[in-house]
Subunit: 148 residues, 2 copies
DNA sequence: TTGTTATTGAGACTCATTCTCAATTAATAT
DNA sequence: ATATTAATTGAGAATGAGTCTCAATAACAA
């Protein structure tokens, strides 16, 4: 389970280093994304927050998401026609995604071998890799079967 | 070099199969993207076309780019705040990208080993991979040096 | 506390992309 | 070739995710 107190402390430190403050609004958004298990989009997040009775404006949600992205708490899963999809990566093992073109299902996977190979490829180019996004698109097992 | 005639034929076939027609406008856009060596965005493409004296509306450029994407002539490199960046992939060997966070340089690379490994990983999940996008972000050799 | 400065929120604004619909054009039938 | 039918185009309006403005407010340091 994710340690929210540590998260709060880490985020505060990030903000401090940039001359910024931990406000109530930022704290609310932070808490919400630390509770998110899956992928999410800004507006759903906003609505979820409002449903709990807390008041944070859309502008602040967007602003905070940008901060959380810069500080590495969340990462962008993909950008669709309808907006950006994020996921919380704080205290969560890195993984990549497969995306079913038919039903939209998302499969998360991790391969040590794949990570190592990417590092090797970066070295060959003199490139210092920091992060990466790999999305494999195609058909999940179920949809694959239904196609015949 | 890319065979534009074959390209035209292939695109026409795609359109026919969908009850659509190869118009002058679509032909102009197709020709332009087949001449593109690097990455491009819709509006630059539109302006390039206008500069050659040809008349194609923005709406048609966008519409045709969508068709070219669906038919596999172009692929989306990345979506930025400022819009979508495409590249022509017709008759061009697949590759992935490294992106320098500092200077914006883009390195294209290809690794047979990486492709094979991805296939293996897909099989393990019962997933039928069709396409993928891998973007590695970090620092290019030059920027890496300038950081110290 | 007090002073200083960052932050917030409502709504205006941006701008890439899509939509509308009357006029036009490609493909097909006669 | 000409008429028929349906797809396509373009100008500009519309959409909508995300950003910006700025007066009011809250965080923080002393
Ligand atoms: Mn994920
Ligand atoms: Mn490329
Ligand atoms: Zn599926
Ligand atoms: Zn660089």
């Amino acid at each position: 389970m994710i340690d929210k107190n540590k998260g709060k402390k880490d985020f505060t430190n990030f903000l401090r280093e940039h001359g910024q403050r931990l406000t109530n609004e930022r704290s609310v958004v932070l808490n919400r994304i630390l509770s998110c298990t899956g992928h999410f989009d800004p507006d759903s997040l906003y609505l979820q927050i409002r449903q709990t009775g807390l008041k944070v404006s859309r502008a602040s949600v967007y602003r905070t998401l940008n901060l959380l992205h810069k500080s590495g708490f969340i990462s962008i899963v993909r950008k669709t026609e309808k907006g950006t999809i994020y996921e919380c990566v704080y205290g969560i093992k890195h993984h990549d995604h497969m995306h079913c073109n038919e039903c939209g299902k998302v499969i998360e996977f991790y391969s040590e071998e794949l990570e190592k190979l990417q590092e090797k490829i970066c070295e060959k180019q003199g490139f210092k890799g920091q992060s990466h996004t790999l999305e494999i698109r195609g058909y999940c097992a179920k949809c694959k079967k239904n196609m015949k």
